[in-house]
C-alpha cells in the first residue's frame, strides 16, 4: 500500500459517458409509483411523533460503555503524562504559556472522539450527489494523523444535505452559474452596503421572497452567520426569547450576542411553552417586573438531529393569542417539504404571513451556499441597514446566486417544467420509504414521517464506528452523530435522504441495514411496526421493502 501525506490529486469519472455521469449525480426515476406528495393532513391535530425508549439493558450498557471509556481515558492520561510527557505537550503548560485547551476541556475530544475520527471529515472528491467519492485514508497512530492511500471509495450518499439533488455538475443550474462566473467574476468585491450588491442579488432576493411567500428577503453569504448576527438587530436586553431546547448552535450564539433573556421550552411541547408565556407576560422582567418589550418565539422547521418538525399551527395560535413574534428557521425544511417545496408553511398549509420572520439556508436544498431572511418589507428595510453582516461581511458571490436562482426556478417550473415537481415528489417518497423500511426492520427511528432527516438510534457509543465503517466498506456513506450535537446517551446514525436516490438504492440500503442491524444488535424496537402501511391513502399500491426478497 502506497501512503502519502499530501492529499492525492485524483481525477474521477474519467471513463464515464455523459449519461453515466448524470446518473451518478442524480439517479433516474424508476417508476411513477415512486412519487409522493408531502403535505400535512390539516384535519388531524398535529402530534409530535412519540420518542421510543430503548430497552433498559441498552441504556445500562451505554452508561457502562462511557464509564469504561472515561476510566481508560483518565488512566492513559495519568500514566501518559508521567511517562511520555512529550505526547501531551498540547495540554501542558509550555514556557509560561497556558495550553490552548486544558486536559479536562479536551478530554472528550482526545479520548473519545479521536477513536472514531476516521468516520468524520472524510475528504471527498467530485459532486456530493447520489454517489459521493471519498478518498481513502489510513492511520497508523489511532487517528492522530492520517495518510492517503491513493484510492477512493464510491458510496451511496446519505450524508450530504442535498435534499432536492441540485448538487450536480451538469444541467441548467451549473450552466447558469458558469455563465454568472464569467459575467460577474469569482468573488463579490465587498460588503452589501459598500459595493457588493449587484442586479443579480436583487433578482435573487425577489425570487426567494416570492418563493417563501413574503414581501421581501435578504441574502447572506453563510447560513450560520445569518442566525448568528440576526438577533442583535431585533432584540435588546429588555426582550425575551422563547427558544426550543433543541435549537441549532447558530441560533443560540445569535441570541446570546443580542443580550436578550432566554427561556427554553421542552422540545415541541406547546403546553410547556404556553405556561412559560403566561408566566413571563404576567411576571414581566425579573426583579423590576416591568413588562417585556418584545417576546420572540424561536423554533426550527425541521430539527437537524431529530427529524422532528415544529408544531406550526399551534405556534401560530399561541403567537396570535399572546401577541408574540415568531421566528422559524427553515434551514432543513425549505425545499425539502411541502407540496410545492416551500417549507413548513407550505407543508402545514398555513399562511407565511403568520410567521414574522422566515429564515433559511440555501446550502441544503438548492446546492448553493448562504442564508436568507424573509419578512415584511419594513422589517427587511430595517435589517438591510442594521444587520452586521450586510455592512461588514462579504456579500454572496454571483455564481452561487445563479445556482440559487436557477434551482428555485426549476422548482417552481419556470425552467424545465415538471422537473421541479418530480424532485419534490421523489424526496417525499424517498424520505417516507426509507423511514418506514427502517422501522419495519425494527430500528428505533426518530422524527416525522415526511422529514428527509432520518436519525436511527444506536445509543451505545461503540456501535457508531462499527456502523459507519461497515457501511463505508459496503459503499454507503452515512453520518454518525453524538455528543455535543445530541444527548450523550442518544448516539445515532443519520440518513439524509435526497431525491437523487432511486428506490433500488434505498432497497440496497435497507438490505445492508437489515444485515448489520442483526449483526450489531441495534434493532431495539423489534417487531413493533411490521404492519404499518406506507400510506393511509386507499389507492396506495406500493409494496414495502420485504426482507424475504433479499
Amino acid at each position: 500500500m502506497m501512503l502519502t501525506d499530501e492529499i492525492p490529486n485524483i481525477e474521477i469519472n474519467k471513463d464515464l459517458s455523459h449519461q453515466q455521469k448524470v446518473d451518478k449525480e442524480y439517479g433516474p426515476l424508476e417508476s411513477d409509483e415512486f412519487l409522493y406528495l408531502s403535505q400535512y393532513d390539516n384535519l388531524i391535530a398535529f402530534e409530535s411523533p412519540p420518542i421510543e425508549e430503548p430497552p433498559y439493558l441498552t441504556t445500562f450498557l451505554t452508561y457502562l460503555n462511557y464509564l469504561i471509556l472515561i476510566i481508560i481515558g483518565h488512566f492513559k492520561d495519568f500514566f501518559g503524562i508521567l511517562l511520555t510527557p512529550n505526547d501531551f505537550s498540547d495540554v501542558l503548560e509550555k514556557d509560561g504559556h497556558a495550553p490552548y485547551y486544558s486536559k479536562f476541556e479536551s478530554f472528550y475530544v482526545r479520548r473519545l472522539k479521536t477513536r472514531i475520527d476516521d468516520g468524520f471529515s472524510r475528504p471527498t472528491v467530485g459532486v456530493p450527489g447520489r454517489y459521493i467519492t471519498c478518498i481513502d485514508r489510513y492511520s497508523s497512530n489511532y487517528n492522530k494523523t492520517f495518510q492517503y492511500t491513493n484510492e477512493t471509495t464510491t458510496c451511496l450518499n446519505l450524508s450530504s444535505y442535498n435534499y432536492l439533488g441540485f448538487a450536480q455538475s451538469q444541467g441548467q443550474c451549473t450552466d447558469f452559474s458558469l455563465e454568472a462566473l464569467n459575467a460577474y467574476g469569482t468573488g463579490s468585491g465587498g460588503p452589501r452596503n459598500q459595493i457588493g450588491s449587484t442586479d443579480l442579488h436583487q433578482k435573487c432576493e425577489a425570487i426567494v421572497a416570492d418563493f417563501v411567500g413574503k414581501e421581501d428577503a435578504i441574502l447572506f453569504s453563510m447560513g450560520y452567520a445569518t442566525n448568528a448576527n440576526l438577533f442583535t438587530s431585533l432584540l435588546n436586553p429588555n426582550c425575551l426569547v422563547l427558544s426550543d431546547e433543541l435549537n441549532h448552535a447558530s441560533i443560540r450564539f445569535g441570541v446570546r450576542l443580542s443580550g436578550a433573556t432566554v427561556k427554553t421550552f421542552k422540545h415541541n411541547d406547546m403546553k410547556d411553552l404556553e405556561n412559560i408565556i403566561r408566566e413571563q407576560i404576567s411576571q414581566g422582567q425579573p426583579k423590576i417586573h416591568r413588562p417585556w418589550k418584545k417576546i420572540l418565539i424561536v423554533v426550527e422547521g425541521i430539527y437537524s438531529m431529530e427529524g422532528t418538525m415544529c408544531n406550526l399551527p399551534q405556534l401560530i395560535n399561541l403567537k396570535k393569542k399572546y401577541k408574540l413574534y415568531l421566528f422559524v428557521d427553515e434551514a432543513h425544511s425549505i425545499g425539502a417539504i411541502g407540496p410545492k417545496g416551500r417549507g413548513v408553511c407550505d407543508y402545514f398549509n398555513v399562511n407565511p404571513n403568520d410567521v414574522d420572520i422566515l429564515m433559511g439556508t440555501l446550502t441544503k436544498s438548492f446546492g448553493a451556499t448562504g442564508g436568507y431572511i424573509a419578512a415584511d418589507k419594513h422589517i427587511i428595510d430595517r435589517l438591510r441597514i442594521d444587520i452586521m453582516t450586510c455592512s461588514y461581511a462579504e456579500s454572496i458571490a454571483s455564481p452561487i446566486l445563479a445556482q440559487i436562482i436557477s434551482s428555485l426556478k426549476t422548482i417552481t417550473g419556470e425552467i424545465n417544467p415538471g422537473e421541479g415537481e418530480e424532485r419534490l415528489r421523489r424526496i417525499a417518497f424517498n424520505s417516507r420509504y426509507l423511514r418506514f423500511g427502517l422501522r419495519k426492520l425494527g430500528f428505533i427511528v426518530y422524527g416525522m414521517d415526511d422529514s428527509p432527516i432520518i436519525p436511527l438510534l444506536l445509543y451505545i457509543p461503540n456501535k457508531m464506528p462499527a456502523i459507519t465503517r461497515s457501511l463505508y466498506k459496503r459503499g454507503i456513506a452515512v453520518v454518525i452523530v453524538s455528543y455535543p450535537a445530541t444527548p450523550i446517551i442518544a448516539s445515532r446514525v443519520r440518513f439524509c435522504v435526497s431525491s437523487s436516490l432511486t428506490k433500488s438504492d434505498l432497497d440496497r440500503i435497507l438490505s445492508e441495514m437489515d444485515y448489520f442491524g442483526d449483526k450489531y444488535y441495534i434493532k431495539y424496537a423489534k417487531g413493533k411496526h411490521n404492519d404499518e402501511p406506507f400510506d393511509d391513502k386507499p389507492n396506495a399500491t406500493l409494496t414495502m421493502f420485504d426482507k424475504s426478497t433479499y
Binding site: P123, N193, F220, S221, I281, Q283, V479
Partner: protein, 656 residues
C-alpha cells in the same frame, strides 16, 4: 405530663396492632430472602447486619443517605426555580395581564437619516470591476408601515433628488475590496469554472460530515505554506471567523488585552467570550505596557492553572487603516508571556514586499504570531475566512469552533479560487524578482498607488481644510474624517459612542484618557485641555437633554437621538460621495459601520479604496475632482443649522 398513663396503656395493645407487627415482620423476612437471592444480596445483608450491631446510628444515617439519593434522582432534573419575588396571581389576573400586554413593534421604522442611507446603497449592474455600471436603488419601502414617518407625504418629491436614480455607466470604482483586481482574472475564472464543472457549486455539508473536499484540504495546506505557518483552517465567511475563534480560546477567567480600534467581529467575540477583557488605547503600546505592569501581580497569583492570555489587534485596521508596530508588540508579548492574535483581513496582499501581510512588512517570523486570521474575500477575490497557526490551536478549532462545526463548508470553487489567487500573487512577485524589478508585481503596483494617492491627498490643501487623513500611506483603504476645525464649526462631536450599550460605556470608561484617532502626522489637538473640551462638547451635543432642548428647539424641529447625529454627519459624507458620483462618475463610499452595534468610539469616514490598476494621471484627476466636490459641498455648510437644513430638504421633512 402524663407519660406514665401512656406507658401503662401501651402494654395492652389492641389485637390488630399485633397482626400488623406480625405481617410486617413476615414481609421483612420475605424481603430479606429476596435480597439474599439476588446476586450480591448476601453480602449486602451481612454488611447491614454487622454495621447495625456495631453502630446503629450509622445505619440510620445510611438509610437517610439512600433516601436522599433516591429523592435526588427522582426529582425533576432542573426544577424550575421560582423567582423569589414572583407575584402569586390567579388565572384571571394572568389572563388580564396577557390581554393588556402590548409589545413593541418587532423593528423600529426607519428614521429619515436611516432611510437616506438605505436608498443610497449602490447597486451594481453586472460585474464589479474597475469600471462599473450602477442601477437605480429600489430599497425604499413603500409599505404602509412607514406612513407615519414625516417625510412620507413628500415621497414623490424626494424620489428624484439625490438617490441613485439614473443608470450610471462607466463609473470609476474606488469602493471595492478587491485591491489586486483578481475578481475578473481569467486564470482564476477558468480554474473556478473547472471546479464547478466537476463538483457543482455548493459543498452540501459541514466540513466534519463529508463537506471537506480534497480542494479544501489542499487550500489549507497552501495557506499554511504561503504564510509559513504549521496549519490552517478555513471558514465560510470572513466576518464570523474571528467572532467564532476568540470564544474558543478565551473562556471565563482568561485574559485578553484588546486594541480599542479593532473591527466589529473581534469586539463581539471578546464580549461574548466572557473573558476578562482590558482595552488599550488604539495602537498605543505604552498604554499596553502600562496595563500589563498593572496586571503583573494579579497574574502572578494565578498559577494553577495559569490562564490563557492574548493580545488582540489587527494587521491593518479596518476602521482606521493603520497598523501596530509588530516587532515591539512581539517583544512585549514575549516579555509578559502573552500570545498574539492578529486579524490580517485587510493587510494580506497589501503589506509586505510579496503581500504576505504584517509579518513580512516588518520582517518578523510568522511563528511569533500565535493566531492569525484573515479574509479571503478581499485581496484574494474569493470568499470566506481562514485562521493559521500552530497545530494544536487549529486542531481544537475543528471541534470547538461553532462557525466551523455547525456550518456548511466553503463552496469548493471558492476554495480553489483562493489557492489560485495565492499562486497568481506569488508568481507575479517571482516575475518581479526575475526581471530585477523591471516588471512590477501586482502587490508593488498596489503599494505604489497607495503611496501616490496618499501623498497627493496630503498635498491637497483644499481637502485638508475639511478632512484629515487617518490611514497610513501603506493602506489601500484611505480613511478621511472631518478634521476637528471643521467639526468645531459644525458643532459635531469628534467621535461617537454607542451609549445605549453597557459594554460601550464600560470600555470607554476603561480608557482613561481620551484618545484621538491615531494619525501619522499628529495634529496638535491632543493636548489635555483640548481633550476635555472635546468631552464637554460631546456631552453638550447629545448626552445632555436640557441643553438639547434649549439650544436646538429653534433650529432643529425633530428630536435627534445620538444615532441621528451620527447619521447626519454621515449624511454629509454620503452627499459628497453622491456628488462625486453624479458629477464625475467616480464611486467612493461612506463607511457602512453601524453605531448601534459598535462598542468602540467611532466617527463617520469617507473611504477610498485604491487598487493596483490605477495610474498616476488618473490618481491626480480623481483627487482634483474630489477636492472640487468637497469645496463645493462644504463651503455651503458653515454651521449645524445649515447641515440640518440641507438634510431636512433632501429628506422631505417639512419645517414648522
Amino acid at each position: 405530663m402524663n407519660s406514665t398513663v401512656v406507658t401503662s396503656h401501651s402494654i395492652i395493645l389492641p389485637e390488630w396492632t399485633n397482626d400488623i407487627l406480625f405481617y410486617s415482620f413476615e414481609i421483612f423476612q420475605k424481603l430479606l430472602k429476596l435480597i439474599e437471592s439476588l446476586p450480591g444480596g448476601v453480602i449486602l445483608i451481612r454488611y447491614i447486619k454487622s454495621s447495625y450491631q456495631n453502630d446503629p446510628f450509622r445505619s440510620i444515617l445510611e438509610i437517610f443517605l439512600v433516601l436522599f439519593a433516591l429523592r435526588y434522582f427522582i426529582s425533576p432534573k432542573y426544577s424550575i426555580e421560582k423567582q423569589k419575588n414572583n407575584l402569586h396571581l390567579s388565572k384571571r389576573e394572568i389572563d388580564d395581564l396577557c390581554n393588556e400586554w402590548v409589545p413593541e413593534p418587532l423593528v423600529d421604522d426607519l428614521t429619515p437619516s436611516e432611510a437616506y442611507l438605505l436608498k443610497n446603497i449602490p447597486i451594481v449592474d453586472g460585474r464589479i470591476s474597475n469600471k462599473i455600471n450602477l442601477l437605480e436603488n429600489p430599497y425604499l419601502s413603500n409599505s404602509p408601515h412607514n406612513n407615519d414617518i414625516k417625510y412620507a407625504d413628500n415621497k414623490q418629491e424626494f424620489k428624484g433628488k439625490i438617490s441613485i436614480s439614473d443608470n450610471l455607466e462607466n463609473v470609476i470604482n474606488l469602493a471595492s475590496n478587491d485591491f489586486l483586481n483578481l475578481n475578473n482574472n481569467p486564470y482564476l475564472k477558468s480554474e473556478a469554472a473547472k471546479v464547478i464543472r466537476s463538483r457543482g457549486v455548493g459543498a452540501c455539508g459541514p466540513p466534519g460530515f463529508y463537506g471537506t473536499q480534497d480542494i479544501h484540504v489542499r487550500l489549507e495546506n497552501d495557506l499554511a505554506d504561503y504564510f509559513g505557518a504549521e496549519k490552517a483552517i478555513i471558514y465560510g465567511q470572513d466576518f464570523c471567523t474571528a467572532e467564532s475563534i476568540i470564544p474558543v480560546f478565551l473562556k471565563r477567567g482568561d485574559y485578553c488585552l484588546v486594541d480599542s480600534g479593532v473591527n466589529l467581529s473581534i469586539q463581539k467575540a471578546v464580549i461574548i467570550s466572557r473573558c476578562k477583557a482590558i482595552w488599550f488605547n488604539h495602537n498605543d503600546l505604552n498604554h499596553l505596557v502600562q496595563i500589563l505592569e498593572d496586571l503583573k501581580d494579579d497574574l502572578a497569583n494565578q498559577k494553577n492553572p495559569i490562564p490563557r492570555k492574548f493580545i488582540i489587534t489587527e494587521g491593518l485596521f479596518a476602521n482606521t487603516g493603520d497598523f501596530p508596530d509588530l516587532p515591539k508588540l512581539v517583544q512585549i508579548k514575549n516579555d509578559y508571556k502573552f500570545r498574539l492574535f492578529i486579524d490580517e483581513s485587510f493587510s494580506i496582499g497589501v503589506l509586505g514586499k510579496s503581500g504576505k501581510g504584517l509579518c513580512e512588512h516588518f520582517n518578523v517570523d510568522r511563528k511569533n504570531v500565535e493566531i492569525t486570521t484573515g479574509s479571503m474575500a478581499n485581496s484574494f477575490a474569493s470568499a470566506g475566512g481562514f485562521c493559521i497557526g500552530e497545530k494544536p490551536m487549529v486542531f481544537y478549532q475543528r471541534i470547538a469552533s461553532s462557525a466551523y462545526c455547525f456550518s456548511a463548508a466553503l463552496p469548493p470553487y471558492l476554495a480553489r479560487t483562493t489557492s489560485c489567487s495565492m499562486e497568481v500573487i506569488s508568481k507575479s512577485y517571482r516575475d518581479q524578482i526575475n526581471s530585477n524589478g523591471l516588471k512590477k508585481s501586482i502587490v508593488s503596483k498596489l503599494q505604489a498607488n497607495c503611496q501616490l494617492f496618499h501623498n497627493a491627498l496630503s498635498n491637497n490643501s483644499n481637502i485638508l481644510n475639511f478632512f484629515k487623513i487617518v490611514s497610513t500611506k501603506e493602506s489601500p483603504v484611505i480613511h478621511l474624517v472631518f478634521n476637528s476645525d471643521y467639526k468645531k464649526i459644525l458643532k459635531l462631536p469628534n467621535f461617537y459612542i454607542n451609549e445605549n450599550n453597557k459594554y460601550a460605556k464600560l470600555i470607554n470608561e476603561q480608557l482613561d484618557e481620551l484618545n484621538e484617532f491615531n494619525e501619522p502626522n499628529k495634529l496638535n489637538d491632543k493636548s489635555g485641555s483640548n481633550a476635555a473640551a472635546i468631552k464637554s462638547e460631546r456631552i453638550d451635543y447629545y448626552s445632555n437633554p436640557t441643553f438639547k432642548k434649549h439650544h436646538t428647539l429653534k433650529e432643529i424641529q425633530a428630536e435627534l437621538s445620538p444615532y441621528d447625529y451620527y447619521n447626519i454627519e454621515n449624511f454629509l459624507i454620503v452627499k459628497i460621495v453622491n456628488k462625486l458620483l453624479y458629477d464625475h462618475h467616480i464611486l467612493v463610499y461612506a463607511s457602512p459601520r453601524i453605531l448601534r452595534h459598535e462598542v468602540i468610539k467611532m466617527t463617520p469616514d469617507l473611504k477610498i479604496n485604491v487598487h493596483s490598476n490605477l495610474d498616476s494621471t488618473s490618481i491626480e484627476d480623481i483627487i482634483n475632482k474630489l477636492s472640487q466636490v468637497i469645496l463645493e459641498t462644504c463651503n455651503n455648510i458653515k454651521s449645524f443649522q445649515d447641515l440640518k437644513k440641507i438634510f431636512d430638504d433632501e429628506n422631505g421633512i417639512s419645517k414648522y
